[in-house]
Each structure stands twice: as C-alpha cells, then as structure tokens.
C-alpha cells in the first residue's frame, strides 16, 4: 500500500483511484505495522471515497479493522453534499466512558475493597442476558430516549452537576423515537441500567502518575493513590438493533453496488432516511448516557453504604467513543458545520470550545481512554492542534491484537483472576470464559497509543490510572 511517512508519528496515503481525499494515520512504527496486518488501511482508503468527505480520512493510533469504517476512524462530511453511515458510528452507539473522582486514598479503602466490589457487582447488573432492575414501560423508555441522562437525574439518579460534566449535557437534542423499530425498542426495555458484556467493565482505579498537575487539578485529580471509578458501556441491544435496521433500510433504498464494502452503506445526510437514522442514533446516544448515569448512581450508593460516605465523589466527565455529531470546524480557513463520525475515537476539543463545560473550558476537554481489562487507563486533555490534525479527535483505547478464539486457547479466566490478585487487583466477573477472551495480552499496548496521541498533539497526557478492582460483564 502506498504509505508515506511525514514525520515520526504521521503517515499518509495519497489520493488514488476513487479516493476524494488522502487518508492519514497517526501511529508509531509498531502500531502502523499492526494496522497493516488487517484491513485497517484499506478501510481508511474506502472511507476516503465517500461523497462529501472533508480534508482527510483519519485513523487514530489504536485503530484496527472494523466493519466498513475502521475502528479508530474519524471522518467528517459536508452537510449538503455528504453522507451519514451507520458503519461510521458502529453497532454499539455511544459506547463510552464515565469517570468519577473521590477524596479517598487507596489505603483508606484497602480493607474494604473486596466488599465494595462485591456490592457493586450485586447492584449493577452485568453479563449477557441480565436484565436491569427497573421494569420500564415503553412510554418511559421513550422519555429516556428523548431526555437521556437528564431523565435519570429527574428520577433521582445523581445530580444536575453530572449533566454539566457529560458530553452534550447528557442529551442530544435531535433525538427522536419515531423512526426506531419496535424490535429495537423492545431490546431497550430490559437492558437500561445494565453494564453488558464483552469489553465492557467497571473499575475502581487509583491515580498512578500525574503528568500535568495544573490540568489534573482542574479535573479533580490531585494525588497519587487517589481513588477513581471508571464505567465503560454503551446503548446495549437498542443501539445494536438501530444499526442493524438502518443498514438494511439504506441497502434497500440506495443499493450497495458502487461500494467497495457493503458495510459502508450510507445515506445523504439531508435525505429522509439519513435524518431518520441520525435522529434514531441520537436517541441511542441518550439511552447510553442514561445507562451510565444510573450505574454511576449505584456506585455512589455502594460507597455510601460500605464506606459510610461517598467522600468527594464527583463526575469528572463522560465521553462518547462511537458517535456521529454535527459540529463546527474550520475547512480551508472557513468555519462550517460538518457531520463528524467518530468510530472508536474520542472527541478532544481544545480550550475555548463552547461545548466544553465552563469549569474546564480554559484547559480543554477531558479525554478518557480505558485500557484493556486490568491494565492502565489514561486521562488526557483536548488540544487546539487537534482541530487541524483530526477534527478534534484522538484514540479511544487499546484495540485487539489477538482473536477471541486465540485468547480462549491461551488463557483461562481463573488464571487471570489469580494473576491480577497477585498484583493486588480484585476481579469479579459474570463469566470466566468472558474474562479469558478479554485478557490484557489480547490487546495492544495502551501506553504506546497514548504516547502517540501526546506526541502528535491529538490529546495531551494528564494522568495514568491503574485498577485496584475490576468488574467484568
């Protein structure tokens, strides 16, 4: 493949064939070698062929092969000439991360760690086929889809302050449930307030290292060994079904003959179907915000019960990793509204952007990057450079390097539990087989991913977090 190295961490594939724009990859030599092993680079080229694409088809440092678009792909489209694609968002709409801070130090919870984790495991439904604790009527579900995390706060889950510290205030205003199938709604009813399975997890973490004290302090990260809680989950079956439904609808309406990959199916953003998908996707985004809002509330209650108080527990931020959004960006010196697809990528707005909560606006948006199960996670901060580099986007995690089958052959869940225990990390899981599939060795090195982000300026390092307790769905 025609790959030009522009600098240590920047690679480009020039326009060729049907490509309307070049493709650009942010990666170290090692990461680009990994991306070269699968279809990632070809997929980035395919995305560059889509109508209305602006500037470049971008690939983040943690990228791997996805469906249609690569995971770790970022592409922005003109609203009039451009498209929207369910494959550019992913099946798990608004799979994302919420991070809570506390005033506890590790030493203060050390003896109660097991109890905290067991109790969280009891309170937060996890695993496959586990329904939520709330029995929703379809009427209430529709309210959730419109109001997002705000619905949860109105019901007493957490506070309005949490909303300020959530992307979009926890509610995408364009959401509508009118174009969502009955099947998708049905899948949404039993799963609200559940963690799910796969790579989703909830971790009690401690601060391991602070790289930028000033910014960390603004985010509420003050000391080494300070306890935090990270929640990683998405819109569950509701989002998966919306993606499935709209891929079929778009195929039937527009066909896929001219597409290099069937999963690149799309609709003009302003077409009826394009708008129906967009508004349904926004509803799934809201569902996921409400989901994480409820789970965060239960975590807070467990700390109150076991520790006597949830001392200083406050939300740092909540970010989307799979989403399409209408945002203002500069193209050829002109500001314009674009439909930005981030699939396995995190928004990383720099200082001054009005979308950032007022308390963080002068430093930049918190960027939350979870590692694989039992490894380090990172807090970064968005930058001004990212606007020019990647429509203000950076990586979202580690990315797999080993198949699930291979992981199952090599690891056993119980053995992973014992190894984590030796490092002082407690593990609770719904399925040991599920744990083996998510073994850290099956993933890329997240340390290298964030280093590339930091060095290129996509997002700057603020703090490194390591787990002390892991709950896996």
């Amino acid at each position: 493949m025609d790959l030009v190295r522009l600098s240590e961490y920047i690679w480009e594939m020039p326009k060729s064939g049907q490509m309307r724009v070049p493709a650009r990859i942010y990666a170290s030599s090692r990461l680009i070698e990994m991306a070269g092993r699968d279809q990632t680079l070809q997929q980035a080229k395919n995305v560059a062929c889509l109508p209305g694409i602006q500037k470049m088809s971008y690939v983040m440092p943690d990228a791997h092969q996805g469906y249609g678009f690569p995971i770790g792909g970022v592409a922005a489209f003109d609203l009039d000439e451009g498209i929207i694609s369910p494959g550019g968002v992913g099946y798990d709409i608004n799979c994302g991360v919420r991070l809570l801070r506390t005033d506890f130090k590790e030493s203060e919870i050390a003896t109660r760690k097991k109890e905290l984790l067991s109790e969280i495991f009891k309170e937060v439904p996890a695993g496959v086929g586990k329904g939520g604790v709330t029995k929703l009527s379809s009427h209430v579900l529709k309210e959730v889809l419109i109001k997002g995390a705000r619905w949860a706060v109105d019901q007493g889950y957490g506070s309005a302050e949490d909303l300020d510290r959530t992307e979009e205030g926890g509610q995408m205003k364009e959401a509508s449930f009118e174009f969502i199938s009955e099947r998708a709604l049905e899948r949404g009813v039993p799963q609200l307030g559940t963690l799910g399975a796969g790579n989703h997890f909830l971790e009690i973490q401690k601060v391991d290292e602070i790289y930028d004290e000033k910014v960390a302090r603004v985010f509420g990260i003050e000391d080494k060994d300070q306890i935090l809680v990270m929640i990683h989950c998405g819109s569950r079956g509701l989002g998966h079904q919306i993606a499935t439904d709209y891929i079929e609808l778009m195929e039937n309406e527009f066909g896929f003959k001219d597409l290099p990959d069937r999963e690149l199916i799309n609709a003009p953003f302003k077409s009826k179907l394009g708008q129906q998908y967009y508004r349904s996707m926004c509803a799934a985004v809201n569902y996921a915000f409400a989901n994480r809002q409820m789970i965060a509330h239960w975590v807070r209650s467990v700390f109150e019960k076991i520790m006597g108080e949830a001392r200083g527990m406050r939300q740092i931020y909540d970010v989307c990793h799979n989403v399409a959004k209408v945002e203002k960006h500069t193209v050829n010196g002109k500001e314009k509204l674009l439909c930005v697809h981030r699939k396995g990528a995190t928004r990383s707005f720099g200082p001054g952007r009005p979308e950032i909560p007022a308390v963080y606006r002068y430093v930049g948006q918190p960027v939350l990057i979870p590692g694989s199960m039992g490894t380090a996670s990172y807090v970064l901060v968005g930058t001004e450079e990212a606007e020019e580099l990647s429509f203000s986007s950076t990586a979202h995690g580690a990315g797999r390097v080993m198949s699930r089958n291979e992981a199952l052959r090599r690891f056993r869940g119980e053995q992973i539990r014992d190894e984590l225990a030796k490092k002082g990390i407690e593990l609770k899981a719904a399925s040991w087989k599920g744990v083996a599939e998510e073994a850290a060795a099956a993933y890329k090195d997240v340390d290298e991913v964030v280093k590339v982000s930091h060095e290129t300026g996509l997002g700057k390092l603020v703090a490194r977090l390591v787990p002390v307790g892991v709950m896996k769905g």
Binding site: R187, T244, I247, E263, S403, G434
Partner: protein
C-alpha cells in the same frame, strides 16, 4: 477437502481478529440457516445442554438472501435479550420466494426449541450484531455455504 465431506460438517469458526467469523454448510438453504443458527448460539452458550422446554416461532422477510440471513440470525439475539430464550435446536425451517409489491422477496418461517435463561446455563459470550462484513452465500456443486462475521 472433498466437497461432500465438507457438507457433513455443520459449521466451523474462521480466524477473525476482533470478533467472530464462521462458515456454515447445508444441503439446502434451510439446512444452511439452521446450521448458521447453531454456530451463532454456540458463541454464547452450550446448545447441547439447553433443554427443549419452550418453543418460539420466527418469521422474517427480506429482499436478498444476505438480508434474510442477517434478519434470521438477529432474531436469536432478540429472543435471548427480550424473551430470555436460549436456543437449543432449530426444529423446522421453511424458505420461499414470493412476489411482494411487484418484486421478489424471500419469506422465512421457522420453529425453534430451547429454554429460559437460568443459572444452570452459562452464557459466556455476547454477540451484539450480525454484520454484512465479508458476507458470502454460495451454492457450490448443489450445496450451500455461508460465511459471516458477527460483532462481539
């Protein structure tokens, strides 16, 4: 491998980095989809262990065989998530081509038996969605072969 031998195999898993991919075989389209359902369910639970205590009917319509396959398989995820139904066996399946709104469509009716989700069955995997990525349905020497990737 000899084609006849291959067909005796119901399905096999193929290497895939992030998710799961499988190939299913069948003497007929019906058998092909029933075997694909087994390959799908076996990614999440042990079908052999599931007792046949409940019955579910599945209906689907689609404009292509690929869409029909995706819709049919998605039903088992739906049944598990919404109706707490674990597939034990696809008992019967019928596929026909019919005319609808001036075009040809595929119509599927199937019956499946299985059991409620309960602690006696371990669910060890979660398939989020059935994808069109690298999807392939072919008739080779009179027998059917399907390749499909599922999102986990």
């Amino acid at each position: 491998m000899n084609e006849a031998l291959k067909v005796e195999k119901k399905y096999e898993y193929l290497p895939h980095m992030a998710d799961a991919k499988f190939r299913a075989y069948g003497h007929s389209l019906e058998e092909l989809l029933a075997n694909a359902a087994s390959a799908l369910a076996s990614l999440m639970w042990d079908m052999e262990k599931v007792k046949p205590v409940r019955r579910e009917s599945i209906r689907a319509e689609a404009s292509s065989l690929e869409q029909l396959t995706v819709k049919f398989l998605t039903e088992f995820i739906y049944l598990m998530e919404v109706k707490s139904f674990l597939l034990g066996k696809v008992e019967s399946i019928k596929i026909e081509e019919v005319q609808k709104d001036g075009g040809k469509i595929y119509r599927l009716e199937a019956e499946a038996v299985g059991d409620d989700i309960s602690p006696q069955y371990e669910i060890y995997g979660q398939v989020k969605a059935i994808t069109y990525n690298e999807i392939k349905i072919e008739k080779i020497n009179g027998d059917w072969v399907l390749e499909i990737v599922v999102d986990m």
